[in-house]
Symmetry: C2
Subunit: 184 residues, 2 copies
DNA sequence: AGGGAAACGGACTTCGACTTCCACTTTACA
DNA sequence: TGTAAAGTGGAAGTCGAAGTCCGTTTCCCT
């Protein structure tokens, strides 16, 4: 691959990240091209469709999420606090990136393309969840899917907060909903 | 208004209800017209834009939600159970109607148009919330917005469940997240 | 009954997005 | 340096969905 091509590919990815972060899934290709300082043709040379571009970004995002989750799961200490950390990290990222929020709460097509990363994320979360159950802090019937739902709903609330919905706070919501997983 | 016009208006509303329930916000106008057994021109005669049609349906939905909430709030008995009933009713309706789910979790334009109905819903919920606090079942710092966020997230989870997302269950999620409002 | 206004239907227009195409430019290599 | 292949830009093409228009039909009132 030619050097200028590789450079442009990076510029496109970088621009796409920014534009999708700001506008979510309905970011527009010409905007991305303009921001990258290239023509739309160049964008399409590197990513045959908009969906392919979204997928590349989604993979990137989920990789980071999974990395973060594995790092958190590897830490010593209070499982409850670590789980909360993990959930907060998800909220934080979704709040800063509407594209990610859309991907997390999004259609199954995209999620299928990042199945590997998703699996790592689930595995890390599950291990923390089990630790939490063992320590008696997490309710015994909690499942990975419960945490999944929590994360997805969190993505939605973060997105609505970004939309300017009064009184909405993803941090507040995360704290409350997460309490529902506590053993009693 | 002519009799046939009124009849057609009802047919359109009825069809729109069904199509939006099944397809959510991206239901298509020709589909609605076909289902109603009329031409698209007739649909546009009664509702100048797609948005106007959505708004009419949303108002209808929120009216029912508000009515249900007020009825629940007026009942005697355990405030906690009544609040849960109310939250479940919201989930149930969202699960049965993707249009409603989209409206609840949706853009502020639509919600602004049903401000009055939303206000009744909020008022009824608030009164139950206060009863719950007074009885010591609900955490003292809970707010109406917390319940709002819970309902919106519930709409999202119900929608994802309808999308066929494995392991997702709005009832399960409602129960868990709602527990987060319990006083400790 | 009959005339005129209201309503209807659905082909057509518009519009806004994604995507393609190709004349031109840049790079890499002999 | 010259040349062929790779890459570029952005105007034009395509496509799907919303919305319009007008000849035809239906209804209501006298």
């Amino acid at each position: 691959m030619r050097a200028d091509a590789r450079r442009n590919r990076e510029k496109v990815l970088e621009a796409a990240r920014a534009v999708f972060a700001a506008d979510g899934q309905d970011a527009q290709m010409p905007d991305i091209a303009k921001r990258a300082g290239v023509g739309v043709g160049t964008v399409y040379r590197h990513f045959p469709t908009k969906e392919a571009l979204i997928e590349a970004l989604a993979r990137d995002h989920f990789e980071r999420l999974a990395d973060g989750a594995e790092a958190t799961a590897a830490r010593e200490g209070d499982p409850w606090a670590l789980l909360l950390t993990l959930v907060h990290a998800c909220g934080e990222r979704c709040a800063n990136d509407r594209g990610l929020a859309a991907a997390v709460g999004g259609n199954r097509d995209i999620l299928a393309d990042v199945a590997a990363e998703q699996h790592r994320l689930r595995a890390a979360t599950t291990s923390l969840l089990e630790r939490g159950k063992a320590s008696g802090q997490v309710r015994a019937d909690a499942t990975m899917d419960d945490v999944s739902m929590l994360m997805c709903s969190l993505a939605k609330i973060a997105d609505m907060e970004n939309d300017g919905r009064e009184g909405f706070s993803w941090r507040r919501f995360a704290d409350i909903a997460f309490e529902g997983l506590r053993a009693r």
